[in-house]
Every structure is written in structure tokens, then in C-alpha cells.
Symmetry: C2
Subunit: 353 residues, 2 copies
């Protein structure tokens, strides 16, 4: 618990002095005022987060937290659990969507085994899989808690340790997730923390039809009634209805915020993780950049709670950090606006009348 | 008129056979079906446009069409006309927003002098300015036509010639504009072609207040009543209330479509140009990729007319190709999904039950 508490205590808000300096420069760039809109807001955030008017975005790392879920035994997902391992193989072989989009964005991909229900050691040889396995998948939270409280804390701390391990070689983090069935714990977390009916935060995951969706809602309603997670205690929520990779994401964001590193939050699963982080350490929100609006409707409530407006809406419903990868291009562009554009006086251009 | 007519006649729709081949592959990629949403739609378009399931996006060129506008004499813009030359200097020196965002996207920037009211020859030494000057700015269309019909045709053909000149070194085009006051002709074009009231398509440009906006609307209403452009004749509309750089954009899009090159359409001014293109050659729309939703509300009507949904909404109101540059990252990502991801059978991954 020491690492978790120390990390939470270490999180302060953005550097307001540097943020003001960046604002002053952005106000004077050679264009109509604030004409690059949201990229300029993002540039301000980057300056405030990094404490520099010349933040670097050279080294980008997308951390894909992977874990399995006992709740898949209740039949909430179309895909078999073994897909998680197969997908990790895809990441390691560089042929998955996240690899393509990370390459385009110039980002590295690191996979973290937070709790995959299979053996990844054969895939770990390339050095792109970090082993932080808490257990081989969570328990089925339709029948009891997903994990015990100690596991939840250890999973959060594992996420923090990943941030610490990668921070020296990372200017910009991105989150990602992989775990068959993980829209179910994410929905349960959002429903609990935002105190919303399950039906309002549950989506079709990888493609459920209406009957399957109804079934998923019923299972989650029963699971929440059974576990009765305490909305004022994020760790209780995580342990009862969460997942190891979601804890890993929450921890990664805590770690990044404590180290004053910007972190791009991917889709629904990542936003559920970030929601936990925001509850554990409200100031951590100042380090989060919301990548994209997911097709999963539960993300809307979580984003509203975090007071974040996503940068992109491309109708993604894949997760794995794919939205974060695409958004990293925008972060890079935003920093370029702050650091490479000239001001009116530098360029000797006439201003508005 | 020969080049214009030949180009229009040469424009055919996308290659449907290749598009279907791309669809077949995209349907089988290792992820839930179509889980990368709009990037997959875009990948389909790229295959259909380029006639290849392995389209290249290596070489990207943003063409910034520049021109001045007599209507600025009527006081519709906050900035003085001389800014156009100063801005072009910014582009050539690499310190403008478009330079930053084009660099981020790996795109070259070419400026075309379509009708700047100043001398750009001193800036042309670096080879990044193409001279296609029709005249030193349009006439004030609040008092008569902006240009004569012959100039309009020559300006369209100049745009086509730019596409032809750059096509050998360009896989993906982007449009851009520069010209103080050019939201006024763009609004007039959209109002005429979409048969909408001026007030519904006029925005604040570089930052007009309410009184200035009212004045701009009044000027444009009078100008349209005076010139009475024929909505069934795009060249009449262009000559009476258009601009040289808008004609250049329209011609560039025509040229790109005839050469089967994809072209990313920037914000409001570019969309007004593309609207002219779409009216001159409806199939040209199949080669257009709408980059972003501009703050200028007239773009909404033009996009609806072109049946295009923009990829991004970042509250940009700068033009110059900045939105196109950012969107080029998405096009590159889309092509990567088509060409670099594995299918279920290639990766030996289990499919949905």
C-alpha cells in the first residue's frame, strides 16, 4: 500500500506558471486568435503537464494492459477467452491494429501481462511483454468478487511500477487494454462510480445482438446487487467488479501523473480505468488527454465525470490503445504549434485592426 | 476551355472491383468486424480511388492556393489585404501553422500564386511557390463581378495544371487556401449553389463581432442581388462571386480526380472550392476526403451537398490546409490497416462464436 499511497500523495496539478507562459506565446502566434482551436488547448495542457514551454513528444509509448475475466464464464462475450493470448501474439508479431497505428504515430507498444489466463512466456522473448501477472484471470464477479482487496492494490501498484519503469524512455504515454469480456467490468465500474443504471452504460462490446445485450445487462445487474461495491471507495469497486488490466491502467495513469508525464487515455476500458484514477487522485485528471469517443456508450458518463472532451470520434470500438495512437499525432501537432510557429512580432506580420 | 472539358470528361468513379477486394480483406482482419470504424471506410475509399489494395501514401503534398479579394475594400475582414503576402512569407520561412502540421504529417507544402495582390517573386526563389497568377486580386464583387468568365476558366485550368505538375511526385494531395477576405466569396458560392440564405452560411471569419457579422451579411446579400449568379452554372457563380484561389482549389480537385489521386479537402474555403468541383463533375466527389469540420458554418451546407462527413472536429478556423495536414495522418493510418494488419487466417486467431 506504500507505493500506492506515496504515488497518490505525489500528484500535484499542472504547472500554472508555465501554462501561463505558453498561453502568452499561443496568443501571439501568426494567425487569427486561437484559430487552431483544440490543438491550442492541448498545447497549453502539454506545457502545464510537462512544466515546459518546449515539451518533448519525441518518445511515445503505448502500454497495453492485458488480463482475463472470469465473468466470460457467464457468457457475456462473443469471443472465447483464449483470444486474449492469441491477440497478444498478434501484438508481438506486429500485425495487429495497434501495431499499425502505433507505427504511424511513431510510438512503441509495450504489453503488460496483468492477469492473462494463459502462458505468455514464449512470446516474452522479444522484450516487449512486461510480466506483472497478479493471477490467471479474475474470478467470475457474477458469483462473488472479481479479486480480493490485496490483489486490487497490488494490481494498481503494478501499473504504477510500469509507469516508473518506462518513464525514463517516454515523453508521452498512451493507454491500451486487451482482455476478452472487459467491457463488462468496465461497465460495472462506471455504473457504480457514476451511480447510473447498468442499462445506460452497457454497450454491445465486440458485437452482441439485442438478446445478448439484454442478457449482459441482466448478468451485470445481478453481479452488482450481489457484490454491492461501495461507490465512495474506488478500490472496493475495483476489487469487486473490476479487472487486472483495468487496475493496471488506473495505476499507470497514477504513475504517469505523479511523474508529470502526459498520458493519452484510449477508449471505454481505459476511460473506466482513468475514472478509478480520478477518484483516487482528482488532480491526476490534469495529466489525462482523452483520445477518442468510443462506440461503447458507458464511456460518455466516465468522460463527463472526468470533465474530458475526447479529441477524435472515428467510431472505433477496438480498444488496445488504437485511439490513443491516432491521438498522439494530434499531441505532436499541438506541441509543434507551441514550439515551431512564429509570433506576429517574430515574423513581422501585421495584426488585426 | 479544352483542358477543363477534357479533365471533366476524364473523371470516372472509383474502381469498384478493387474496392470490393479491399472490403473482403478488411472484413477478415483480426479484430471484431469493422472495429476501426471510419478508418476502415477510409481504407475502402483509398483502395477504390487508387485502384489498388496496396495504395501508397508515402508522398503527400498540400497545395496552398493564394489569392486576394477586391471585396475586402468593402470592409468584410478584420485583416488588411497585405497580410496575404506576409502570410506567404511565413509559409516560405516554415514558421506558419501549416508548416508545423505538414511536417508532423510528413507532407510537402507548395504555395500557388493564383492571384495575390502583391509581388511574390522574391519569395519564389526556394522553388516552393508556383506562379499561376491570373490577376492581382479579384475585383470587388460588391460592385460587379469578381472576375470575367475567361479568367474563371483559366483559373480552373491553372488548378488542373498544378495537379498535373505535382501528380508524379504525389500519392496524396491536400488542399489549402490563403487570401484575406476569402470567407466572403466562399459564403457567396455556398449560398448560391446550395440555394440558402446568406445569413445561414456566413460566419465570423477571422473573428468578427456581431455588428461586423451583420455588416458582412448585408454586403453579401447586396452583392448576390447585384451579380445574380446562376446556380445551375458553376463557372458563372465562380466568376461573379468567387476568387482565384477558390478556382485554383476547384481545379486542383478536378485534376486530382481525373488522375485518380486522393485529395484531402481542408476547411470552409476548400469545401466551397470542392463544391464547385462537385457541380462541374459529380464523380469527382469520390476522390475527395473531407478533413475536418470548420468553425465556419457555411461549410456544413457544402459538406452535406458533397455527401461528406469530415474526419475531424478540432474547432479549427485557420484554413491554409491545416486540417488537411492533420487528416493525412488518418489516411496513412487507414492505409496501414488495409496493408499491414493480418487476417484471422493469416494470424491463426479464433473467430467469434
Amino acid at each position: 500500500m506504500n507505493l500506492l499511497k506515496e504515488t497518490i500523495d505525489a500528484i500535484e496539478g499542472q504547472n500554472e506558471t508555465v501554462r501561463a507562459q505558453a498561453k502568452e506565446r499561443l496568443d501571439q502566434l501568426i494567425m487569427p486568435h486561437w484559430a487552431l482551436g483544440r490543438l491550442m488547448d492541448l498545447a497549453l495542457d502539454m506545457a502545464g503537464i510537462c512544466g515546459s514551454v518546449r515539451p518533448s513528444v519525441e518518445r511515445k509509448t503505448i502500454v497495453v494492459m492485458a488480463g482475463d475475466h472470469g465473468i466470460t464464464d457467464a457468457g457475456v462475450s462473443l469471443f472465447p477467452k483464449k483470444i486474449t493470448v492469441e491477440m497478444v501474439r498478434g501484438f508481438v508479431n506486429g500485425v495487429a491494429g495497434i501495431n499499425v497505428l502505433a507505427r504511424q504515430a511513431g510510438a512503441d507498444v509495450k504489453v503488460v501481462d496483468m492477469g492473462v489466463a494463459g502462458d505468455l512466456s514464449a512470446l516474452a522473448a522479444g522484450g516487449n511483454i512486461l510480466d506483472r501477472k497478479i493471477a490467471a484471470g479474475t474470478d467470475n464477479f457474477a458469483e462473488g468478487p472479481a479479486m480480493d482487496r490485496d490483489q486490487a492494490v497490488r494490481a494498481l501498484e503494478a501499473g504504477i511500477s510500469v509507469a516508473q519503469e518506462l518513464a525514463d524512455s517516454t515523453d508521452l504515454f498512451g493507454t491500451g487494454d486487451r482482455g476478452i469480456g472487459n467491457t463488462s467490468p468496465s461497465s460495472a465500474i462506471v455504473a457504480t462510480l457514476c451511480q447510473m443504471p447498468v442499462a445506460e452504460v452497457v454497450g454491445r462490446g465486440t458485437g452482441l445482438d439485442n438478446a445478448q445485450l439484454e442478457y449482459k445487462i441482466k448478468i451485470l445487474e445481478k453481479a452488482l446487487a450481489l457484490n454491492n461495491p461501495d461507490p465512495s471507495d474506488p478500490i472496493d469497486v475495483l476489487s469487486k467488479v473490476g479487472g487486472f488490466e483495468i487496475a493496471g491502467i488506473a495505476g499507470l495513469v497514477l504513475g504517469a501523473a505523479a511523474l508529470k508525464k502526459p498520458i493519452v487515455i484510449d477508449g471505454f476500458i481505459s476511460t473506466a480505468g482513468a475514472l478509478l484514477t480520478g477518484r483516487l487522485a482528482p488532480k491526476s485528471r490534469e495529466y489525462m488527454i482523452a483520445a477518442h469517443r468510443s462506440v461503447e456508450k458507458g464511456q460518455v458518463a466516465a468522460l463527463a465525470d472526468l470533465k474530458k472532451e475526447p479529441l477524435l470520434d472515428l467510431q472505433f470500438r477496438l480498444g488496445v490503445g488504437t485511439g490513443a495512437a491516432v491521438a498522439m499525432n494530434l499531441v505532436e501537432g499541438a506541441v509543434g504549434i507551441l514550439t515551431e510557429m512564429a509570433t506576429f512580432s517574430e515574423a513581422a506580420v501585421s495584426e488585426a485592426k
